[in-house]
């Protein structure tokens, strides 16, 4: 797509062994694809805990288990940019809760 731009930023959260990774594709000022993912350290590797993205044509939120399987999916019928903002705000507010549920889940 002409003018398409891909950005990929990772932020390590202070003191928590937690990464938030954001991938955004924009074109003409529009968000055409995105991923916002919260990851936590399990053993010696970072594994995804919760992910917002626009794969499969519609934005959604996935919660994952330690095996990387999606254990909960919520579709978000809204524009990509709104789902991206929602994802960041939800992870900002609830990352601890997601982490506790993730670590307490089946191995």
């Amino acid at each position: 797509m002409p003018g398409r731009r891909e950005t990929a930023y990772d932020a390590l959260l202070p003191g928590h062994g937690e990464f938030v990774r954001v991938r955004i594709s924009t074109a003409g000022g529009e968000v055409v694809a995105f991923t916002v993912q919260d990851e936590t350290l399990v053993g010696d590797r970072y594994v995804p805990v919760v992910r917002y993205d626009a794969q499969h044509g519609l934005p959604h939120r996935d919660k994952l288990n330690r095996s990387g399987d999606v254990v909960d999916k919520v579709w978000l019928p809204m524009p990509n940019v709104d789902a991206l903002n929602l994802g960041i705000e939800d992870i900002r507010t609830n990352w601890q809760r997601y982490k506790v549920a993730f670590l307490g889940g089946a191995r």
Binding site: R5, E6, T7, A8, Y9, D10, A11, L12, L13, P14, G15, H16, E18, V20, V22, I24, T26, G29, E30, V31, V81, N85, I88, E89, I91, R92, T93, W95, Q96
Partner: protein
């Protein structure tokens, strides 16, 4: 012997982590809100963000390490006037624009102020050390002008 951190310390870390996610959200929104500002930053890398408040003028500094082995490069990415703060009355030294939250001025400070260092903290410290005196000087000149007019 392991040491269990005090609850207050844990709470501060939780707040710091949540704040870091908020700053990350603010930074990535540049991708569609002000892509011309994003042109000054690498498209990929680890990012570390800091908010600096200078007399009510908030600057959001971003340090990015494009590759795991490279230096961190830091620049301002956003500016906001905090509630109750006095807006700048004139251009700050070295920049031919009156400060605002508009892309033109953000671009001017992104271009004018930057620093690089082996660690994110060092890069952000160096950028803050360059930015702070210029802003404090601008605030001082503005206050002197306000006092002079009041006489």
């Amino acid at each position: 012997m392991s040491v269990i951190p005090a609850q207050a310390s844990v709470d501060r870390q939780v707040v710091a982590a949540s704040d870091a996610i908020g700053r990350l959200g603010l930074f990535v929104r540049l991708a569609w809100e002000m892509p011309e500002v994003m042109d000054f930053f690498p498209d990929k890398g680890e990012v570390s963000l800091r908010e600096v408040d200078i007399h009510g003028h908030a600057f959001y500094l971003a340090a990015i390490q494009p590759e795991a082995t490279g230096d961190w490069v830091a620049r301002p990415s956003r500016y906001a006037l905090k509630p109750g703060a006095v807006p700048f009355q004139r251009a700050i030294p070295g920049i031919d624009r009156v400060p605002s939250d508009q892309p033109g001025w953000i671009l001017a400070i992104v271009e004018a102020f930057h620093a690089s260092a082996p660690t994110a903290v060092e890069a952000l410290d160096a950028l803050e050390a360059a930015l702070r005196p210029a802003i404090e000087e601008a605030v001082r000149i503005d206050l002197e002008e306000i006092v002079r007019r009041g006489r």
